[in-house]
Amino acid sequence: MNDFIQLDFPSLLLGTLAALSCGLLGNFLLLRGQALMGDTISHVVLPGIVGGFLLAGSVAALPMMLGALFASLFSVSLIELIKRAGRIEAGAAMGAVFTTMFALGVVLLEQSGARGVHLDVEHALYGNLESALWLEAESFQDLLSFSKLFSLPEDIWVLFFITLLVILFIVVFYKPLMITSFDAAHADSLGISSKWMGLGLVFMTALSAVAAFSAVGSILVIAMFICPPATARMLTDKLSTQLWISGFIAVLSGISGYFLAAFGPFWFGGQDSVSAAGMIALMAGFLQVLAMLFAPRYGVLSRLFFKNRFHNQ
């Protein structure tokens, strides 16, 4: 049990928090037709993180985070510029920018000799969830002790506060987020700026992508921005319910994915665990497939079933 609280619990917490913060924000990206913004941002933070690392000279959280934030806001502006100046469609503009930023990140990484320190590309892609440790903990009772909780790794605390911030953002801006996502022109006519709301959303997306990125890597970030909201979308027609469901799905994928990755291989006679971030993303995808097939109203199979019943009548 000690092993669990020291080795597995912090990773579990980290993965779940990352899933939750990205999964909640993803709802609004999905409704705005910007689902791939998460994909874009999780690729463009790489040069920012490496740049922050190079400038600070150490693997400190703050400069890397600032660098990543800067990189994402820079990229979003660049995408906007390309879209407007060249009248290029959004998808192509995003594709041009995120691949370039990622390339820049890769080159910086190799150039800097950062390889081997802590940063490498594999790390950026699928993170290193398993390295989160809480050696100070001795038993589950420590979860109730504040002084012990403070010894949790920095990453977890950062992600915890950002998750809180994301929830606060959604609660406070629920109305403007909803109205600008549904009908931007109408919102603008009311004086609720869809442009600023969109920028706010991108900023929060960048913030949570950056926080999650260093712990779980880009693949989990992309998956969480899309899969839990898409799953919830299959299950409900009410925005508030959709938010709750996506949060639940995110947490569920986080927990089940981690357990499968950490312990699953041993059940089948394997000797090593597999990538937890990959497994969490895979679980989120799996849950989405279930929803797409079996959702009571919009699932493919239930639709097929109802259609046949109508035909028979």
């Binding site: 999905l30 037709g33 910007q34 689902a35 791939l36 998460g38 994909d39 690729h43 510029l81 390309i82 100046a85 060249g86 290029i88 469609e89 998808g91 192509a92 503009a93 594709g95 041009a96 691949t99 370039t100 990622f102 390339a103 820049l104 890769v106 080159v107 190799e110 150039q111 590309v121 594999e122 892609l125 693949i219 989990l220 992309i222 998956a223 899309i226 899969c227 898409a230 979308r233 299959m234 990755a261 291989p265 394997g270 000797q271 090593d272 665990s273 597999v274 990538s275 971030a277 990959g278 497994m279 969490i280 993303a281 895979l282 989120a284 995808g285 799996f286 989405q288 797409m292 919009y298």
Partner: protein, 408 residues
């Protein structure tokens, strides 16, 4: 530094050894083919499909490695890995289509779902492989970032030949694909099988992505299919020119990037190729004469000034005051207004001329509404500078006649 340059020039001119030259030719062929196909994909507004396809290759690569290791004892045969990649990329493309067609989710969500889920599966399999085949899997992660360093002679040949074949198919199907992107209803009416053309395009895209995996890696191969067409878009409005330009940009960028990486061996090939391509793109974005950002901003500024000048002069001709500060500023600069806001003699003259031109412009609009609205400088410049002189005379004669008739 000069040594580096000399090395680079040597590589660029194919004098840096047989293998390097083959890699360069292969990369250029690949970049050209990807750029050309990318134009059609861009025009069909499906650029990010390559994002889904390329990420979806990973589980195929890893599974192919596992199968190949089991059956042939060597999992690293490039052809086997590429077949695996193609197989799972096809599955990914089908999954995107399935989600869009049968669920309420839209294409962006479908692409995101497929790329993250397939890639996640690939990562899980990769970590599994790493624990089973300690060390034997080295090189598999090259598919993520690309590397030409360990490329064998027959691998480079495989890439070059397949890229060449893709290019050939593109040339033979050029007319049909152009039609598909330009006017899909017309293409249908002409009896073309649009669905199968779309599938052909997807297949070509898939081929480029798979061929490019080893050289530039699965993230950056997306760039090969997106950046050259987007850059070409700034230079021309015509599809055929766009394809030529994108092919050229793709080939040039890949050639140069690959040459760079053959000299600076510690830098990843894919990254260098993409950064080279993006530099070409950036130059296009800024300085292209037709659609470039600078030209566009300049034209817009000029247009705005003309509109303000026109509106100000018309106000003067109707003896109305000019309120808009920008209009005032422009009129003052042209000495149509004095500093105190009074209209100068030149101002009155210009206003009269503008008012007379407006009547003529309106007559022209009346007679040739479609042509009038298609004119960029309609009613902004003196009419005789824009439309033929005899037409202007015809218009003014007609106006005189009408006036006479009205008076009578």
């Amino acid at each position: 530094m000069s040594e580096f340059l000399a090395e680079l020039i040597k590589a660029l001119t194919l004098q840096a050894g047989y293998n390097t030259s083959l890699v360069l030719v292969g990369a250029a062929l690949l970049g050209g083919a990807a750029g050309g196909i990318g134009v059609f994909v861009l025009l069909r507004k499906r650029s990010l499909v390559s994002d889904a396809i390329s990420h979806a290759t990973l589980p195929g690569v890893v599974l192919a490695f596992m199968l190949a290791s089991y059956f042939f004892d060597d999992g690293r045969a490039l052809w086997a890995l590429l077949i695996g990649a193609a197989f799972s990329a096809v599955l990914g493309a089908l999954a995107v289509e399935w989600i869009v067609r049968y669920t309420r989710l839209k294409e962006d969500a479908a692409i995101g779902t497929v790329l993250s889920t397939f890639f996640a599966l690939g990562i899980v399999l990769l970590t599994l492989v790493q624990s089973v085949y300690q060390g034997g899997q080295a090189g598999l992660s090259d598919f993520i970032l690309g590397s030409t360093a360990g490329l064998l002679y027959q691998d480079a040949l495989l890439i070059a030949v397949s890229a060449f074949v893709v290019g050939l198919v593109l040339i033979f199907k050029f007319k049909e694909l152009t039609l598909l992107c330009f006017d899909i209803t017309f293409a249908k009416a002409q009896g073309y099988n649009v669905a199968s053309l779309d599938r052909l395009l997807l297949f070509l895209l898939l081929a480029v992505v798979v061929i490019g995996l080893k050289t530039v890696g699965l993230v950056l191969v997306i760039a090969l299919t997106i950046i050259p067409p987007v850059a070409a878009r700034f230079w021309t409005e015509r599809v055929s020119h766009m394809v030529l330009i994108a092919t050229f940009i793709g080939a040039l960028g890949s050639w140069f990037g690959a040459a760079l990486s053959s000299v600076a061996t510690d830098l990843p090939t894919g990254g260098l190729i993409v950064l080279t391509l993006f530099s070409i793109f950036l130059i296009s974005l800024l300085v292209a004469p037709k659609r470039g950002a600078l030209a566009h901003a300049l034209r817009h500024k000029l247009f705005q000034r003309r509109v303000h000048e026109r509106q100000g002069l018309l106000a003067i001709s109707r003896a109305e005051p000019v309120f808009d500060p920008l209009t005032q500023k422009i009129l003052r600069k042209k000495r149509f207004l004095r500093a105190d806001g009074a209209v100068t003699e030149e101002g009155h003259q210009a206003a009269q001329k503008m008012a007379r031109d407006q009547v003529l412009w309106n007559a022209y609009h009346q007679a040739y509404p479609i042509e009038a609205l298609a004119l960029e400088d309609w009613s902004l410049r003196p009419i005789e500078e824009v439309i033929p002189k005899d037409l202007v005379e015809e218009l003014s004669e007609e106006l005189m006649l009408t006036k006479v008739r009205l008076v009578q």
